[in-house]
């Protein structure tokens, strides 16, 4: 089971504050386990944000981002009820997605 994701999207005027929390180990490949063996790289490499079905952000990130990353951004001209969908793809091919309506 993939770790959960959570979106919070709140409207202030015509600006929506969107915050997404993504559960992920974000292994850097630099750490070693208890037996001294390196823990393999495991990180989210692509984050996609869709607004009402239309892709608005395609971001590439790296292992420099910490465990359980948080991303926040603002959407101009957003309306209450607009659907925000966020998904990620990691270097092992795992993906996860979640969506929320702007409130």
């Amino acid at each position: 089971m993939a770790d959960p994701m959570k979106i919070r999207a709140t409207l202030k005027g015509d600006l929506a504050d969107v915050r997404v929390l993504m559960g992920h180990p974000m292994e850097t490949g630099q750490r070693k386990d208890g037996a001294g063996k390196p823990i393999p790289l495991h990180f989210i490499q692509e984050v996609t944000v869709k607004l009402n079905g239309k892709t608005v952000i395609e971001g590439q990130i790296s292992q420099a981002i910490s465990r359980n990353p948080v991303f926040s951004f603002r959407v101009k001209g957003a309306k209450s009820g607009d659907k925000v969908e966020i998904s990620w793809l990691d270097n092992k091919g795992d993906t996860n997605r979640t969506e929320a309506a702007i409130a």
């Binding site: 770790d3 959570k6 929390l21 559960g23 981002i65 910490s66 465990r67 359980n68 948080v70 991303f71």
Partner: protein
């Protein structure tokens, strides 16, 4: 559009150098940034799943667990703990009570349910996830632990005496470090926890995600970890000693609206 990641924390941590008031305000800034990017909600979500998941020999969930406000009532329940429970004739805090529910509702053995109470960043424990979820259901509720039953009063009294009790290999009491205002251990400020003004903000934000551990930590862990550093043997999870310490600290913090689970350095 503006995208910001938590990697900025690194620069904030690196600027935490000088030992001065400036460093302190930098530290506050750092704490604020950390709180904004806190993964606490993830722990609450996983905890909710575990709370509702049938487990153990009885294949039951914890949804019927009575945390003091009636079976299955979670809203505000954490803020009323620790308290006396008639069915076991003793004072229990959240974790002690949840352990009790695992054994009674789910039919799990003490040994199995306490096998891995404190987790780590790679694998947080069931108790940590559950604590995050249940404590989160008390946000906005004033801390009001039980104080009317004689056993609740006895727990407070025991906790109060323990706070000042010199013991262990290094002769420490809690007050050896948490006894005088304005003191630090290394760069960490030491709250004087027998005074309400210091206990209130602290108790209102535990359990908490600890950035230095990259994971979620509970109140039983917090107290356990203090004793480890005091160089005593280990207090038993859920024992009267730990519950009494928790009762003393929570009564001292009473009245403060709960706003955790928090995010700590």
């Amino acid at each position: 559009m503006l995208v910001s990641g938590r990697s900025v924390l690194l620069t904030a941590a690196l600027t935490l150098a000088a030992g001065s008031a400036a460093a302190q305000s930098q530290f506050e800034k750092y704490q604020k940034m950390v709180a904004e990017g806190s993964p606490v909600e993830l722990f609450e979500l996983v905890g909710e799943g575990l709370w509702k998941k049938p487990q153990g020999p009885k294949n039951a969930s914890l949804e019927q667990c009575d945390l003091g406000l009636g079976a299955g009532v979670l809203q505000g329940a954490y803020a009323r703990l620790p308290r006396y429970f008639r069915d076991v004739d003793r004072v229990m805090d959240l974790e002690t009570r949840m352990l009790h529910c695992m054994m009674t509702l789910q039919g799990r053995s003490l040994e199995e349910a306490t096998k891995r109470l404190f987790g780590n960043a790679d694998k947080p424990s069931e108790m940590e996830y559950l604590s995050a979820y249940v404590a989160g259901q008390s946000r906005g509720h004033a801390m009001a632990p039980g104080q009317s039953h004689p056993r609740e009063q006895a727990a407070y009294e025991l906790g109060r005496k323990l706070y000042f009790y010199r013991t262990g290999l290094w002769d420490f009491s809690c007050a050896s470090c948490h006894g005088e205002e304005g003191k630090r251990i290394r760069m960490s400020e030491l709250p004087v926890l027998y005074k309400p003004e210091a206990a209130r903000p602290l108790i209102a934000t535990w359990p908490a995600y600890r950035v230095s551990n990259s994971t979620f930590k509970t109140m039983q862990w917090r107290i356990n970890n203090c004793f480890r550093q005091m160089r005593t043997p280990e207090p038993v999870f859920g024992s009267e000693v730990v519950n009494a310490m928790n009762m003393f600290l929570t009564v001292t913090a009473q009245g403060e609206p709960y706003r955790g689970p928090g995010t700590k350095r």
